[in-house]
């Protein structure tokens, strides 16, 4: 019997996969990154619902109709790989990571046990080991989780467990008030986490930031002291390395000293900015100190750190990891018995079953994508990538300083330019106000696309000027 006859993927099915693949290369990778094409063919929700047949019916469709669907899906989606896409903290396309995600999808398995994902559990273990080494957690552990928010949740969970592991059993009802400290520039997931985990958003205390958006250590110290005086428990500090809007790195060294002083958990949400650990030039940012001297042994003085590799490094969404300095805390705080997955009588070493470390059950093989990218580029490649983004950002800042029209804009002007920009499809940049600093709406440009060049950066300025100068 012919091999093909035995597969239940039919010859037509294989051909369909081929055509899909061709379309992916042609439409999203080639056309999608063509600077002459739009970043998006924008339609309003109402228009799009008319232009696109969303309905699900009793009867199905044939392959050709499905391919048409693909074509229009791509057409109406935002081209996040476009060199002029600066809208979000993720952008660009790393081919090695893209292909690895295709492999993951085709193998379609979970990484809770070695039994189900032998290669994926090993690569995840390996990558986690490398990452903990990079952070200077000599005896640490970590886990990939679906997104930076889940990492922050898990960090709060760890902090609580480390404070009193009995709380896992008895819960928070009738317990002492526990306080979480974070900066006003921190990601909103800290608040969401406080609400979900039962602390309450009122018990998140916001520490002041300086002009560049960094947490002020003195203020933290004062607020912790105040909290203690009021008889409440300071539980943890959620510091940020790379804030969402301003991209500020909290001064970690100083915060770490304070946390050690009061013996409280320090988590660093480095979702956005954490990828600097790959660069010898920029990794000092993570410590929040000036790079005055050559760093010989680099280590982060935190209890846990989370990094999202789908952001700066451009790994396919989702790829976030939480690393803890203490090797056992992840397993201890999350493990519950599930005899159908984690029984003792297995014929292999069950320490490779990593599912006990997470609050999830089934989990996608996100770590594999980072492993492939890292393997492909090597340490050098990742370092160059990170350095390049910082270079362009520096260049952009210099150019911006030279052009007078880009200093202060009225609050209404920005949304208007944004609207024109989306309609023209030439650029994709987001904007927001920052009330705590008294800033009105301003543009935020994120530079993390491997295709972006200095020329693109010049174009941004010209284009915003063109769209906005007659307002």
């Amino acid at each position: 019997m012919n091999v093909k006859d035995n597969t239940f993927v039919t010859p037509e099915g294989i051909e369909f996969l081929h055509k899909t693949h061709q379309m992916i290369i042609d439409d999203t990778l080639l056309k999608g990154t063509n600077i002459h094409h739009k970043t998006i063919d924008y339609k309003t929700p109402d228009q799009l619902q008319v232009a696109f047949d969303l309905s699900i019916d009793d009867k199905g469709l044939d392959y050709d109709r499905i391919l048409d669907m693909f074509s229009s899906t791509i057409k109406h989606s935002l081209n996040t790989a476009h060199p002029r896409f600066f809208g979000q903290l993720y952008s660009g396309r790393q081919l090695e990571s893209l292909t690895s995600s295709w492999v993951v999808e085709a193998l379609n398995t979970n990484v809770h046990t070695y039994e189900c994902g032998p290669v994926f559990t090993l690569t995840e273990n390996y990558v986690i080991k490398k990452l903990t080494e990079k952070l200077g957690f000599l005896d640490g552990d970590g886990i990939f989780l679906p997104g930076g928010t889940m990492c922050n949740f898990c960090a709060l969970h760890l902090a609580r467990f480390a404070y009193d592991n009995n709380l896992r059993e008895v819960g928070l009802c009738q317990s002492q008030k526990m306080i979480i400290f974070t900066s006003e520039a921190a990601h909103y997931s800290v608040k969401t986490g406080a609400s979900f985990l039962g602390f309450g958003t009122d018990n998140v205390i916001f520490v002041d930031t300086d002009d560049s958006g960094r947490m002020i250590p003195r203020d933290l110290d004062d607020k912790i002291r105040e909290t203690k005086e009021q008889g409440r428990v300071p539980l943890c500090v959620m510091a940020t390395a790379g804030t969402t809007v301003l991209g500020a790195y909290d001064p970690l060294e100083e915060l770490a000293s304070i946390c050690r002083n009061y013996n409280i958990w320090l988590h660093v949400d480095a979702s956005w900015g954490g990828s600097v650990i790959f660069s010898d030039v920029h990794k000092h940012l993570m410590r929040g100190v000036e790079n005055k001297y050559q760093i010989i042994s680099f280590n982060i003085r935190a209890d846990s750190v989370s990094i999202s590799f789908h952001k700066l490094l451009g790994v396919q969404l989702q790829c976030s990891a939480l690393m803890a300095k203490n090797k056992d805390v992840l397993r201890q705080s999350n493990a519950v018995d599930a005899s159908y997955l984690f029984h003792e009588e297995k014929h292999y070493d069950i320490s490779y079953d990593i599912g006990k470390k997470t609050m999830q059950c089934g989990r996608k093989a996100d770590g594999y994508k980072l492993w492939v990218l890292w393997k492909a580029k090597g340490n050098d490649g990742l370092e160059k990538m990170v350095n390049k983004y910082f270079d362009i950002a520096k260049y952009f800042t210099e150019r911006l300083a030279e052009r007078r029209e880009f200093k202060l804009v009225a609050p209404k002007v920005i949304p208007a330019i944004k609207r024109r920009m989306v309609e023209a499809g030439s650029l994709s940049i987001s904007f927001q106000p920052l009330e705590s600093k008294g800033y009105v709406n301003f543009f935020r440009i994120i530079l993390n696309n491997p295709l972006t060049t200095r020329r693109d950066v010049d174009l941004i300025l010209d284009e915003i000027d063109r769209l906005g100068n007659n307002l």
Partner: protein, 573 residues
């Protein structure tokens, strides 16, 4: 600064290669990059898709972890790895991975390889956007609405809101959080410190994610009360009601019941209608975890298993399980209709569900003294009328007076008359910020197959499992754990020749418990079949064969039985 711009990315599609572009298109380092993509695709297609689903190839090529660590060169090099080496690594990855799309893979609750699903997830990964605003994911945002609505309709929810989650565990987490918020809206701002102890219920065979969520949410594992099941694994509603009453008597506030439609091991469907009655009587949020068994909703022949699901408050349903969508594809749904309370209603990232539903909450004859003014004001405003509720068990509660003093006020209004509160502002906030697009693949599969196509697949899965059960009954050496499985999990012991025709003493059972692990090891090493095993309560290790691959046939069932017999008949324990 050592690196400068022109260095670009050595191996990536460096901007400076734009000289070689046609009409501004960046050719990924010319032909080389396009060629790389094609070759990876070819490997995936040949090794992963074609060979991986071929019955003549192995389900798994098992190697022990310590050895596999050496077989695959895991190390990260200082500089770039050449493309040829990367392609080799892709091949090795596929080679040593478990072929979950293989028709002899019965190990987990997911299986199969659907070409639409696969194509859809490839496209999703290539488009690589995040599901949080219409701005960045216009098409996918609309699709999410359509698919969730379709699923809600199938479940019989009139109104609905929902969200796709990274895994059923997270869906269940959403359910518990919403229920807790309904009972104590002040939790969001004030936390749990000032609240009375609350508790939730799930069956002994419910999924362990409820346990993990209970710990994560700060409720405390102690307050997750496990309800007994009957012999088939279904939750016993009488035991549930007793447990609720007992908890109330102990001064706890019950707020959440998790019913399971398709338990992980035995595949039992809890009696949803009866459980809904109990929940209504005690005013408790009812969540249905039909992550696994929800697929039956697509089949007119089998949807009766989920009768009563329309009465629940929320549910979680994973199309990546029975419906065969690629991992992860998990929907959380609540029937409480969304009231678009903010302008940007298409932005799902900060999704807020406002629930407008008349909620029956227990009221008090005496004045409600709440610790929070905010909530009190809400309660006072909305309390309108008293409805008498008759439950034989209520009297026992009412007679109970020895409550801890600090809960007097709270308990008072739970024990005595009842008020109707219109509870508004129940927010379902996406707990994620960025969210992977999980909807496209399932939308595409649904579009391709239609409801009728899916119905056929579900019927096929269920029919095969029924066939397997009948076949096991008449085959020597097999003993069913559950005589009449409800879902498509078929659990059985295999009795090797050395244990046949003997009295079933405790010693005999202990020996039988050693059989499954031994067969499993042989099975894995041979790679011909993959079926999981586990113990359950007092039952010793038994096989759980999960039928979730829509393309398996009766012949595959026969093969599995014959293969286990081949591997196990001569085992001596």
């Amino acid at each position: 600064m050592s690196a400068n711009l022109s260095d670009g990315l050595q191996n990536g599609f460096s901007p400076d290669q734009r000289n070689g572009t046609k009409n501004g298109t960046i050719l990924y380092n010319g032909e080389k990059r396009a060629h790389f993509l094609k070759r990876v695709f070819q490997i995936i297609l040949e090794d992963g898709v074609e060979k991986g689903t071929d019955v003549n190839s192995k389900v798994v090529e098992f190697v022990h972890p310590e050895i596999l660590e050496k077989l695959i060169d895991l190390s990260i090099p200082e500089s770039v790895t050449p493309d040829d080496r990367l392609l080799e690594l892709c091949r090795e990855t596929i080679r040593y991975s478990v072929k979950t799309g293989h028709r002899r893979f019965f190990n987990q609750l997911y299986s199969g390889l659907d070409q639409y699903g696969l194509a859809g997830s490839w496209l999703t990964d290539t488009v690589n956007t995040s599901q949080y605003t219409y701005e960045v994911a216009p098409v996918f945002t609309l699709m999410e609405n359509v698919v969730l609505k379709h699923m809600a309709t199938l479940a019989g929810y009139q109104g609905f809101d929902g969200i796709f989650c990274p895994g059923g565990s997270i869906s269940n987490l959403y359910g518990i959080n919403l229920a807790r918020y309904r009972m104590f809206p002040e939790i969001k701002e004030e936390g749990m410190h000032a609240l009375p102890k609350m508790c939730l219920f799930t069956s002994k065979q419910g999924h362990y994610s409820i346990k993990k969520s209970t710990a994560l949410l700060g409720i405390g594992l102690k307050y997750m009360i496990e309800v007994d099941c009957d012999e088939t694994g279904q939750m016993d509603p009488v035991a549930l009601e007793k447990a609720i009453v007992k908890a109330e008597c102990e001064g706890l506030t019950p707020f959440f019941v998790n019913a399971t439609a398709g338990t992980t091991v035995s595949g039992a469907y809890d009696p949803l209608e009866t459980i809904a009655d109990v929940c209504k009587r005690h005013n408790i949020w009812m969540h249905v975890d039909c992550c696994w068994g929800g697929g039956a909703l697509l089949s007119r022949k089998y949807r009766h298993l989920l009768k009563g699901i329309e009465l629940s408050d929320s549910m979680s349903w994973n199309p990546h399980k029975m419906m065969g969508a690629p991992l992860q594809c998990c929907a959380f749904l609540t029937k409480h209709e969304q009231d678009k309370c903010y302008d940007v209603s298409y932005d799902t990232g900060d999704k807020v569900i406002i629930i407008n539903r008349l909620y029956i909450l227990h009221g008090s004859r005496k004045k409600i003294t709440r610790k929070t003014d905010k909530t009190k004001a809400k309660l006072d405003k909305r309390s309108s009328l008293v409805i008498p509720e008759k439950s034989p068990l209520r009297n026992c509660v009412l007679d109970h007076t020895s409550l801890p003093p600090e809960f007097e006020s709270r308990r008072g209004h739970i024990f005595e008359g009842r008020f109707i509160f219109d509870f508004a502002s129940l927010p379902l906030e996406a707990i994620q910020c960025g969210r992977k697009v999980d909807v496209f693949k399932i939308w595409l599969m649904w579009k391709a197959k239609g409801d009728l196509g899916f119905e056929q697949l579900m019927d096929n899965i269920f029919d095969n499992s029924r066939y397997l059960v009948e076949h096991l009954k008449i085959t020597e050496g097999f003993k069913l754990v559950f005589r009449k499985p409800q879902c498509t999990n078929v659990c059985f012991w295999y009795i090797p020749i050395c244990l046949r025709d003997q009295e079933e003493t405790p010693d005999w059972w202990a020996k039988l418990g050693k059989v499954a692990p031994l067969i499993k090891e042989k099975m894995v090493l041979k790679g011909s079949l993959l079926v999981g095993y586990q113990p359950l309560d007092h039952r010793v290790n038994f096989f759980r064969m999960v039928i979730s691959n829509a393309e398996t046939t009766k012949e595959d069932m026969e093969f599995a039985i014959a293969e286990i017999d081949r591997l196990g008949r001569d085992i001596v324990v």
